[in-house]
């Protein structure tokens, strides 16, 4: 059974069919990329997978359970975490608290526990803080734990967003353009980070990316979208030589 099964997914925005007949199976442990020109519907697919948009038709099955109609926070609790194309941290609070918020659903103490500072609160809160600090250490951010998230440099903010997503303890991580706005050496670091995180946490990764260096280096399988539909999928090499893909990126004239 695949970890994620997407069948015939589609969504309309008014009269616009943004995504149509999108099928995708992802096995546990894979790294898959969705690529395609701007406006192809890649982020819309992510928004449906993470519950932010409700699909007009089609089904999403994750670990054998249907996800249709669930809210984003419920989907997160089922084990799908994501990052955003334009980084969305909690800017005015500390780096540590950004990660601790990701641990909120598993905090294990009630409102009353926290207000009365019960022994359970003390034990669970200490455990939670330790876990958050471990995660920060894994992402090389432990020494920045107490500074505001907004004062981190760009690359570190990207790392923090992945660390926060990891706090959810997902099985599937959705990365929306993790290397956007990065120079080649930073892209290389991001490739290594994604690979490292995937191994360490035994993850499955689905990512959207424009940086072909990252995609070709990292991904075992590519899905190419254009105008809301899948136009090609397969190994990076196959996809790269596919005339339909070249046409989508470069235009018909360039191919013939």
């Amino acid at each position: 059974m695949p970890l994620l099964e997407v069948k015939n997914l589609g969504i309309n925005f008014g009269g616009l069919r943004a995504v149509n007949k999108f099928d995708l199976d992802i096995e546990r442990g894979e790294i898959v990329a969705i690529i395609g020109p701007n406006g192809a519907g890649k982020t819309t697919v992510f928004n449906m997978l993470s519950g932010y948009y409700t699909p007009t038709d089609g089904t999403i099955t994750f670990k054998g359970k249907p996800l249709n109609g669930l809210q984003p926070f419920q989907i997160a609790q089922h084990g799908i975490a994501r990052t955003f194309q334009n980084i969305r941290l909690f800017p005015q609070i500390s780096v540590l608290d950004n990660v601790r918020i990701g641990l909120h659903p598993r905090a294990g103490y009630s409102l009353v526990d926290s207000i009365l500072r019960t022994p359970r609160f003390r034990a669970k809160e200490a455990e939670l803080t330790d876990r958050a600090l471990d995660l920060l250490a894994t992402f090389g951010l432990e020494d920045k734990a107490n500074i505001k998230a907004s004062s981190l440099p760009y690359g570190a903010q990207r790392r923090l967003e992945i660390a926060r997503a990891q706090a959810v303890q997902p099985d599937l991580l959705l990365l929306d353009e993790p290397a956007a706005g990065m120079n080649p050496s930073e892209v290389q670091q991001m490739v290594e980070l994604v690979r490292f995180v995937k191994e360490k946490f035994n993850l499955t990764v689905l990512l959207i990316e424009h940086q072909m260096g990252l995609v070709m280096n990292l991904c075992e399988r590519l899905v190419v979208m254009d105008f809301g539909e899948i136009i090609a999928c397969g190994l990076p090499q196959e996809v790269r030589d596919n005339p339909k893909v070249l046409e989508a990126y470069l235009g018909r004239g360039a191919v013939t």
Partner: protein, 329 residues
């Protein structure tokens, strides 16, 4: 600063503060009139912290906070009048009644209106404030004891400063415990970025309703204490203008700062009275001065006087319990 030291320091601070205030009262420096103002300042602290949780920490813009203070004041007042023969127990019970009534109404109102965002939520809460205000103005037609526009009298008074001091200290501690917990952090996450909070597993609807209910319950406590501080309850004390006062306390103090709200609440309550003395016949112009203060602070320090700051003794110490796990193992 280790944890035990922090607790002892805070405790000593509270005791010293109490002794100073008590000494001022005993020596007559703070006469009966100023004692009532001091009580009022502490009521402001409690109500202000309620709005601080709703707006300062959770980012839910409320222009109707005084309505919940009013619900607390009138429900507690009615209870205290009815059970006045139980003495202090009746008064203590009335505080619970005030908290529960405002909290329950806050919850029931919060469920439908917290779907709205920012300005729209402000307008909805403003509307609720008008409903409550009009309801109180005409309450005598349903319950003669509430007095309607004439005001309600007969609530047993306890102007002993201790009640207010203990209540305010307890509320500061409880608010601090709430804010520095996973539930408080969930609120801050909603304020900072609702979408991001949602995808890391924080339910926006639940978190907002929780914060709103807690904030309204604190407003209810403020109201309950208010009705024991003034022998005469008037709907005008819970109008939209009073909601603006609470908003000013939270915004001037700095969104997301408990200490800022506390200090500004006390400062504001005394400022209102001080202006009454200083301005004398020109007291009607006080609104000009409030507005000027607000404008100057927003220009000079847009984050509020204490924005981004917190009293160190309120912030819990963060440390590892276990040694660091070995990376990559």
């Amino acid at each position: 600063m280790d944890k035990n030291k922090q607790v002892i320091l805070a405790l000593v601070g509270v005791v010293v503060l109490y002794i100073i205030l008590k000494a001022l009262i005993m020596t007559g420096v703070l006469g009966p009139y100023w004692q009532i103002i001091l009580n009022y300042a502490l009521i402001y602290v409690i109500g202000g912290l309620g709005l601080s949780i709703i707006y300062g920490f959770t980012g839910q813009f409320s222009l109707g906070h005084a309505a919940f203070v009013g619900i607390g004041a009138y429900s507690a007042g009615l209870f205290a009048i009815t059970f006045s023969h139980y003495g202090a127990w009746g008064s203590l019970g009335s505080l619970v009644v005030g908290i529960v009534c405002a909290g329950v109404v806050g919850y029931l109102i919060g469920v439908p209106i917290l779907r709205l965002k920012s300005d729209y939520l402000g307008i909805a809460t403003l509307g609720f404030n008008f409903i409550v205000y009009d309801g109180l103005q005409n309450s005598d037609k349903l319950f003669p004891a509430m007095g309607g526009a004439q005001g309600m009298t007969g609530v047993p008074q306890f102007q002993t400063f201790e009640w207010y001091f203990v209540a305010a200290v307890l509320v500061v501690i409880l608010a601090r415990n709430f804010v520095f917990s996973t539930h408080g952090r969930a609120c801050t996450a909603i304020r900072e970025n609702e979408t991001a909070a949602n995808v890391v597993g924080v339910s926006p609807a639940r978190t907002k309703i929780m914060a709103f209910t807690i904030g309204c319950a604190l407003a209810g406590l403020a109201g309950a204490l208010y009705c024991h501080n003034y022998p005469y309850l008037n709907p005008d004390s819970f109008s939209f203008l009073e909601s603006i006062n609470y908003l000013i306390v939270v915004v001037l103090g700095g969104l997301g700062s408990l200490a800022g709200t506390v200090i500004t609440a006390v400062g504001w309550a005394f400022l209102l009275e001080l202006l009454r003395l200083v301005l004398g016949p020109f007291y009607a112009f006080r609104g000009v001065i409030y507005a000027l203060i607000l404008i100057v602070v927003i220009i000079v320090r847009s984050q509020g006087i204490f924005g981004g700051m917190e009293a160190p003794f309120l912030v819990p110490q963060i440390g590892r319990r276990k040694p660091r796990a070995i990376v990559g193992s």
